[in-house]
Symmetry: C2
Subunit: 251 residues, 2 copies
DNA sequence: CGAGCCTTTGACTAATGTCAAAGTATGTGG
DNA sequence: CCACATACTTTGACATTAGTCAAAGGCTCG
């Protein structure tokens, strides 16, 4: 059963990538216009908590977030959930499904989100004919691999404080890459989601935020965080931030 | 500075994949003969501790392990090392470098290892002309992404016992996939490497092995482990084992 | 045979998780 | 528009897992 049955197709029809008003922020933004000319993607609207796809569903489309935020998560056989990534505007979702034609994760909208579904078969057909697109896809996948490496580093080597700092810095860098202020970040996900993602108890997430605020690094107001001391936060984060300019396309 | 200066090219020359005596176990084993016909790979021998490449080196080749074992690891800015994956015969190394043309990891031989270097440019040139090869590469990358997801699950959700059990099961499954006994596994890496990979102290790795032996699950003799109760170990491991048949090509 | 490294074991410590409870937004129906 | 129900966040007290430190035992290689 597809969970897409109640999706609002608010443009009413497929729409060419070449016309998209999000071209500037899209994962495909560097692509030659001609490659996208005929490629049509279906814009879809998901509300908070709605699923783009389930783990195990057959791969039909890759998704690009236009607006909003999406999480992807794996579920173990015991039923506990592990969030693998958060995806903001311009990021590509579903590359894990290429291996065997079924998604490995669930993808869930964190907020009302506007997402482009790019038909996979059509994309592949084009990639075969087009070396540039092929390169682009391969690079996007390689970026996802690299980024996962950063995640392993975070989970394997960093303590609670460093994880929280890394997480906030990654958000900040993402903001900056999109042309917004690096010091004003929004956290569209719940504290529980942050905890799940960083493998920390919700309480630990709260305490870290509280402490950073007490130390004058941040000001926290619910889902809004103002970073007061970016460089201090960056040095707390240590090692990789997981968000270098070339790494926008995530799992 | 390339670390390959002291590499023994023990076949003395490049060699066609089509003739390779490891075809059966190779990451390319399903490929049509014709695709490999002209593709030449350089077999190289690395001794324990020698590096295939450093993080930051320019991508020249992808590597396929023919015999032996290789670890890939990232190093944080503080200098601590995180092993990202172990690679046995048939596995593909270096896909993380496709993103920006430089390797993200170090790759180090754990043992005397026999490795094929596949020239990346040449491979790409073929992939452009050949949809099958292209698909194969994409799938290999997608597998790496999936597998990293399993790693995140392991680090994020599993305790010491489950990690150790998962690790052993992954080894066991790999053995089975290569046609060997699922209950006799070798651990070519040190306890310290296992600990690093699983994010456990060396002492914890030892204690887990000791305990599993005491519980009659295993018999451990240095780097040889005989698994006495596969199904019990599998259920200890919980969730994903990270080694389904389709997932042989790792980071 | 000795040096050095790896592994194993024990005793203690510390970071983070768990449990409990209060405080605070959000939204729904009367 | 208010009041209550619900879900999320925050804080405190305590428990537990795994890490650290220390030391002994075993291989391996020169």
């Amino acid at each position: 059963m597809s969970s897409n049955s109640n999706v609002v197709r608010f443009f009413g029809s497929r729409r060419s990538c070449a016309d998209c008003n999000l071209r500037k922020e899209c994962a495909w933004r560097e692509m030659d216009e001609r490659l996208l000319e005929g490629l049509e993607a279906t814009p879809e609207l998901f509300r908070r908590g709605e699923r783009l796809f389930h783990a195990g569903d057959a791969l039909r489309s890759l998704f690009v977030v236009r607006a909003g935020a999406v999480k992807t998560c794996m579920v173990s056989s015991e039923g506990d959930e592990q969030i693998v990534a958060f995806h903001g505007p311009g990021e590509l979702i579903g590359l894990d499904a290429v291996a065997d034609g079924t998604y490995a994760c669930d993808a869930v909208a964190l907020d009302t989100s506007n997402v482009c579904a790019i038909p996979y078969e059509e994309l592949c057909a084009r990639a075969v004919r087009n070396a540039g697109l092929q390169q682009h896809l391969m690079r996007a996948m390689s970026c996802a691999i690299k980024r996962n490496g950063d995640m392993v580093m975070l989970l394997g080597k960093k303590n609670a404080e460093q994880r929280m700092a890394s997480f906030l810095m990654a958000r900040s860098d993402a903001q900056r890459n999109r042309g917004y202020s690096a010091s004003e970040v929004t956290l569209p996900m719940s504290r529980a989601d942050i905890g799940n993602y960083l493998s920390l108890a919700v309480e630990t997430v709260c305490r870290q935020l509280t402490r950073m605020q007490a130390d004058g690094l941040l000001e926290v107001h619910r889902s809004m965080v103002s970073i007061r001391d970016l460089s201090a936060l960056r040095s707390l984060a240590g090692g990789e931030t997981g968000e270098t300019p070339a790494r926008r396309a995530a799992l």
